[in-house]
């Protein structure tokens, strides 16, 4: 059978000019005529020769770090932006959902927005009319249909928006991150709807940071990194690849060179070491053992110093946040300068497994100016250990977290 989607040698290059805004003023254009080469430009490959095929009925998850090219790929598949080279052959109608509620207008009522949004997403008016009841039912905002959207709470707007999208009926559905919206209850409802769409034999392309959702929804997975296709195969294998190859933590990782970070950059996390209580480097911890995570800072201007708060975030293997070890919880302000070393020290409460950790550093209060933030900075491997100090090892893969507790009995 011919694949429903053939992606052949797709590349997308952007020219970045270092001294201009992306949109220009006429003056810039005129001056550049007379001063050719006065601005420095650099070519940036958002996608670099990507090729893969998708068979009809497959659900494919696309994963990768921020800036890996996932969104660019979806934009090309959605015809929003053309590729610089390469071709894509599609043998079915593509509907793309890069955002929920595209074209929603605050002045229009709920009902009017259903029609407008549905139409922008490519539904025919008759199609929307015939599904109208179901859409309203799914969204649960039936009481507010004649109320202007600006009076909706943001949660209601999202529910309405997703409900319209949920009733799209294309052969190929492209979805970007939209499941990360709404309250937990509604998210579950959306996931069930998506699973149903998948079972109906529709082809789905799904981009998400929520690797749990990818694992649930997709059979196949594609890993992108720096615009290159790194892995194409089973979803489980792809997730494994993502964690083991791209988020490597073997102490020597050149953290300074990583691009998937944000923040002002006054200080940067430069290097990491995972230590045990004897201060020797380890690659694995046991449950119950003392852990020391040591981070070295680098100042961009060598003489800079300043006060910062730092947080270490621990996430499970599918990216769900488990805990955040924030220095702010202890009102601990860190005096940062070039070469400062921050150490987190705690007893490992984590059950055996792989954990993904993020780092962030900010000035002022929580949510102040971000200095440096790396969402997927390193991994922690935890193996079975004598957490309770009794020699009883808790059964594997039952609990996620251990806690100190007492059992008191009285008669």
């Amino acid at each position: 059978m011919q694949p429903i989607l053939e992606i052949k040698d797709i590349s997308k290059r952007f020219r970045i000019s270092h001294d201009k805004l992306p949109y220009l003023s006429l003056r810039d254009s005129f001056t550049s005529i007379f001063k050719p080469g006065s601005s420095t430009t650099e070519e940036f490959k958002a996608l670099d020769n990507i090729s893969f095929n998708i068979q009809a009925g497959e659900s494919v998850g696309i994963i990768g770090r921020n800036g890996a090219g996932k969104s660019t790929l979806l934009k090309i598949l959605s015809k929003i932006t053309p590729p610089t080279s390469g071709t894509i052959i599609s043998r079915g109608r593509i509907a793309s959902l890069l955002e929920v509620g595209t074209g929603f207008h605050p002045e229009l009522t709920g009902k009017e927005n259903i029609f407008l949004n549905g139409s922008i997403l490519g539904m025919k008016r008759k199609e929307i009319e015939s599904k109208f009841e179901e859409i309203v039912d799914f969204s649960g905002v039936d009481k507010f249909l004649d109320t202007p959207l600006k009076h909706f709470s943001s949660g209601m707007q999202l529910r309405l928006a997703f409900s319209v999208a949920a009733f799209l009926d294309p052969e190929i559905l492209i979805i970007d991150e939209v499941l990360a919206v709404g309250d937990t209850e509604f998210q579950k409802k959306c996931m069930r709807k998506m699973e149903q769409v998948g079972r109906e034999g529709r082809t789905i392309l799904f981009v998400s940071h929520n690797l749990g959702a990818v694992a649930n929804l997709c059979k196949k997975g594609i890993v992108l990194d720096s615009g290159k296709l790194m892995y194409n195969g089973d979803a489980d294998q792809a997730i494994h690849y993502y964690y083991s190859k791209l988020i490597d933590n073997q102490g020597v990782l050149k953290m300074l060179e990583r691009k998937d970070r944000s923040g002002s950059g006054k200080f940067r996390f430069e290097a990491i070491r995972l230590l045990n209580k004897e201060n020797s480097e380890v690659s694995v911890y046991k449950s119950g053992e003392e852990m020391r995570v040591e981070l070295k800072l680098k100042a961009t201007n060598i003489n800079d110093s300043g006060k910062v708060y730092a947080t270490l975030i621990i996430k499970d293997s599918v990216g769900e946040r488990i805990m955040g070890l924030a220095s702010a919880f202890y009102n601990k302000e860190i005096l940062a300068r070039d070469g400062t070393i921050i150490t987190w020290k705690w007893r490992c409460q984590l059950a055996p497994g792989e954990y993904n950790c993020g780092l962030s550093m900010y000035e002022g209060i929580i949510g102040g100016i971000v200095v440096d933030s790396i969402p997927d900075a390193f991994r922690l491997n935890i193996e079975e250990g004598d957490y309770f100090g009794t020699g009883v090892i808790p059964p594997v893969r039952r609990d996620k977290i251990f806690s100190d507790f007492e059992v008191i009995s009285s008669t």
């Binding site: 949109y23 929003i80 043998r91 922008i120």
Partner: protein
Amino acid sequence: MHDNRIFVAMEYEIKPHEKLSLGIKELWQYRELFFFFTWRDIKVKYKQTFFGFAWAVFQPLLLMVVFTVFFGKGQQPEGLPYPVFAISGLILWNIFSTGLTGAGNSMVTNANIIKKIYFPRLIIPISAVLVSLFDFIMAFIIFIVILIYYHVHISFCWFPVMIITGIIITSIATFGVGSLLAALNVKYRDFRYVIPFMIQAMLFLTPVIYPVSKISIGWIKYILAINPMYSAIELFRYGFNGGQELQTDLICISIGSSFLFFVIGLYYFRKTEVYFADIA
């Protein structure tokens, strides 16, 4: 099973941008979106206004009163009472000015949609012109009332023909200049400031509020005739000004210019539209 699919052709390719076509077939497939964008803009324009659609009538009416008070003393330009002369020009002019403002800014105001979903981009500036045509229909009703009030003689043969001719020339010109400005506006935000200034200047370079016969220097007439609205308004008035003689050479220049703007605007828009999402 799915006879209402947008992409009738089952197989299509996405390629780097190379060939230039009008994409009429695709526009036809997306025809309902014209309606929805136009309908949205009309709704939003008059939402939360007390007078609603009446604003489409007030604007030319008030301008007519102002111009009559200041310029209209005892004048009978082209054999018409000055208020009739002024409002006939103003209602057509309004298609051009509101259409041009709407279309010229349309790509920037709809940038959030353009970046997130594909549809033929031409739908947006065309819808902006359709919105201004809707305003025209509202204003046209009051225009008829004024014609009756001043007992203006209407040529029943020429009146409908010339109205339609005037509207077509106006729409073509509005779309042409509008889509050109829309495309330029995405890249050069200077045009946001150029548009209102241009419209204001052109109002005085068009025989909207004065007859072209007021201009005595011959060559200036020819320059003013480059303005597409010259022919639209002159032909429109021909339907009810008792068959005043038309300056055929000037009219031809003006019609030619409106078609030229149409072609240039359409060409430039189609040529640059694929990159709108990258730079908007």
